[in-house]
Amino acid sequence: MTAIRGAARIAGVYEHPGRHLPGTSLPQIHAEVALGALADAGLTLSDVDAYFCAGDAPGFGAISMAEYLGLRLRHLDSTESGGSSYLMHLGHAAAAIAAGQCRVALITLGGKPRTGGAPPGGSMNDSRAPEYAFETPFGAPTVAQYALAAQRHMYEFGTTSAQLAEIKVAASLHAQHNPHALLPRPVTLEEVLDSPMISDPLHRLDCCVVTDGGGALVVVSPDVARSLDRTSVTLLGQGESVKYAGGRIDLTYTGAVWSGPAAFEQAGLKPADIGYASIYDSFTITVLQCLEDLGFCEKGQGGPFVAEGNLRAPDGLLPFNTDGGGLCNNHPGNRGGMTKVIEAVRQLRAEAHPAVQVADCRFALAHGSGGSLGTRAGAATVILGREDV
């Protein structure tokens, strides 16, 4: 056990209902989700004393956004690790709360890739990055980098396209209950396999959606949580890591092999204790590899594990992404970590859609990846507990 376990609670969450927001500026999306999450917690902007944002925040990161939101801060953090950023922020916020540096931390995400325009700041396309000259000239879009991992996983373990497709099918069955989902229609295995090949072996329906939008979390100290009327969720464990090619890339595993065990150890739990999992699903292969790396099945057995229907809510062994995930619901700013935490909180508050609500959900896991599965990526895992456990 470490100081993180129980040091902080998530008291408010908010997922922007918009999926295409051409008439709303990026800072205003951050503001709308901030207000939404604070209202959910029963707090206001004046209660916030710590702020966390990643590379999607415009301008000078937390400094620009603090001014826009009118925050008075004594702690700030602009850790940027792509889609996993917000799960890293959760751990950092808990550590800061445990150290007495803040009591109410706000974490925001906003993005407008569906509208288009300039990509978020950050880094992956910075020509000064040391790897840039050795990878950029080869025309490997993001999907190709994940496809390379899928191809190698198939070669080593016999994983099939149909097994990957089941991940999309399960997500689509969940999305039909989400009125905000971009793609609410259930799809069949055949539809996934018959969709156009984008980068072998990944089809169009192996890829996540592109949406505008955002989300926010309010993380508070236990004493603040007790003063609120709203049900909160306890942060039991968090782990983070970075995986890189290092000249000897192994495409069959992700940084979850480090972030997962670290989170479970802090929480004092094991994979079998988890009733619900939010797994960042940039592509179907991302979910498959992370399920293995987090210990929900043996390495290489992700294909059979998902093909057995284990991901389907509410009765599967490990219901996942019950909002429809990035594959069907929402992928704001091309960063999936935030919505993963939000749906895990809904499950632990028993506020998921009744058709996908996991019965007696006591412990949930959320996992985010950021960057490219094939080259370099951040990974962060959080384990959350229901208020009464």
Binding site: A133, F134, P137, G139, S199, G247, R248, G374
Partner: protein, 138 residues
């Protein structure tokens, strides 16, 4: 020569430490660095060994031979490669150890599998600078 765009990084984006690599490609040689202290062959070129932290690195000319570690056929994309689809992106495991991101060229996409032996080719731009790509060998 492949039919893919040969778009080298802006010279200003190249690090001082990696210049011998790019000069080697222009001269038709694949030059890699080996660590004098831990003997690892490192990738990508840089000013220290990421395996042991040593700055004692020595350039040598590699064989240019390798095998396909993984591959994909890009069938839809935007930008300068959009008109080149379908084309292959892969990781090639060099005979000297490193696995490098590259294109597999001079073959029909999809004919190449994991484990396929390959040989490096130097894809020149109009200015005589080159990219490192690979073609299958039988």
């Amino acid at each position: 020569m492949s039919k893919l765009p040969v778009t080298l990084p802006d010279p200003a984006a190249l690090t001082e430490e990696s210049k011998p690599f790019w000069e080697g490609l222009a001269a038709g040689q694949l030059r890699l660095q080996r660590c004098d202290d831990c003997a690892e062959v490192i990738w990508y070129p840089r000013g220290l060994c990421p395996h042991c932290g040593s700055v004692a690195l020595a350039w040598f000319t590699a064989s240019g031979q390798g095998t396909v570690y993984s591959f994909t056929v890009v069938r839809r994309t935007g930008g300068p490669f959009g008109a080149a689809v379908p084309y292959m992106v892969g990781y090639v495991e060099l005979a000297e150890g490193p696995r490098v991101l590259t294109n597999i060229v001079d073959c029909d996409p999809g004919q190449v599998g994991i484990g396929q032996p390959v040989q490096c080719v130097f894809d020149y731009d109009e200015g005589g600078r080159a990219l490192l790509r690979f073609r299958p060998v039988t």
